[in-house]
């Protein structure tokens, strides 16, 4: 395993609980976006640039945007 792989794995392993632990959905959207980016880096390290590209555009741009839009509608009062 390369150093990049191990580092990326470690970051993803920390990123997932961080997403879960962010109980405030607004903050969580940003953490999730960052998590998507980390996954992208990891997949790149796994020699999967295609998947990395879609993980980044979907996981860290499209989905967080949808989440933010949903939250804009829902409001933050429940968090």
């Amino acid at each position: 395993m390369t150093v990049l792989q191990i580092v990326a794995l470690a970051l993803v392993a920390v990123g997932a609980p961080a997403v879960v632990a962010a109980r405030d959905p607004l903050r969580q959207a940003f953490v999730a976006s960052f998590y998507g980016l980390l996954l992208g880096v990891l997949f790149f390290a796994f020699a999967a640039p295609d998947v990395a590209l879609s993980s980044i555009v979907i996981g860290s741009v499209a989905l967080p945007t949808i989440i933010l839009l949903a939250l804009a509608k829902i409001g933050d009062k429940d968090s």
Binding site: M1, Q5, I6, L9, V12, A13, A16, P17, V19, V20, R23, P25, Q28, A29, A32, Y35, L39, L42, F43, F46, A47, A48, P49, D50, V51, S54, S55, I58, G59, A62, L63, I66, I67, A70, L71, K73, I74, G75, D78, S79
Partner: protein
């Protein structure tokens, strides 16, 4: 060490599932569900990886170069889009729950109309 990626896939799966179980906010629950799904991306790609293998894109590299498994990548691509579609649908349900019933706590939605 060679088990690390798989161990982390299991870890992500369980952490995400814990989030789903313990969630008090529908949006939070849906994001946790997408974390659960992300464990499968890692698992699939981890399986198909070959040490020092190139990506299976034979543009500047000769055909007999050692390359990682292309199938798991194709599966993961499909999986990513499917996951996004399901997540979007669930978020729509969350928005509707707030709009109609003023709650985003998954535990407060009644199975049948009050």
């Amino acid at each position: 060490m060679s088990f690390l990626p798989f161990a982390i896939a299991i870890w992500i799966f369980l952490v995400g599932l814990y989030g789903v179980v313990s969630s008090h906010h529908l949006v939070h629950l849906v994001i946790c569900l997408s974390v659960v799904q992300s464990s499968t991306y890692l698992l699939l790609l981890g399986i198909g990886y070959r040490t020092n293998g190139a990506a299976s894109i034979f543009v500047d590299i000769p055909l007999n170069t050692k390359a990682v498994d292309p199938v798991v990548k194709a599966l993961t691509l499909t999986d990513v889009v499917v996951g996004a579609a399901v997540t979007a649908l669930l978020l729509a349900l969350a928005v509707q729950a707030q709009k109609r019933f003023g709650t985003v706590d998954p535990d407060e939605l009644d199975p049948l109309r009050d």
